[in-house]
């Protein structure tokens, strides 16, 4: 989750691309644009320092971290239950 990646602070496009294994630049661009449109992320370039664009969480972005963490934690605890259920379901 891109939002989770930005929890510890602003990141540049290349840093985000490297942090999310397997994501294409096209998908990353579209996802960031969607997150910006929905108000979770801001996109800023600080021309004096560097021409590169930085992405950072907005207050809205920070506020969604908690429910997302609850879902992620649930999933980590129960992924084995789901896989066991799928195996049993396929056998029936």
């Amino acid at each position: 989750m891109l939002i989770g990646q930005l929890e510890s602070g602003p990141m540049r496009f290349g840093q985000l691309r490297d942090a999310v294994a397997g994501i294409s630049e096209k998908m990353l661009t579209q996802t960031l644009r969607g997150l910006e449109r929905d108000g979770f992320v801001t996109r800023r370039s600080d021309a004096e320092i560097s021409p590169q664009v930085e992405y950072r969480l907005t207050p809205l972005g920070h506020s969604v971290l908690e429910p997302l963490a609850a879902v992620r934690s649930w999933a980590q605890h129960h992924i084995n239950d789901i896989e066991r259920s799928r195996l049993a379901f396929e056998k029936d």
Copy 2:
């Protein structure tokens, strides 16, 4: 969310179809099958009482209610922020 519908007890296919506005029978069948495969729901018919099939949450299904409620509550509180952001984004 179908899982949320089953929180208060078992329901039959027709009851679920009526409870989730706009869902097609094909989509409801596929979704229930997926929830059963992943272990969130059981599908049981009690031939002595009635030939109809009943769907009910498993313990795993009950356990996911809490994180889902956290996301739903967050969304209800912030949907206006997202819509405001989208309007502003479209204007830029």
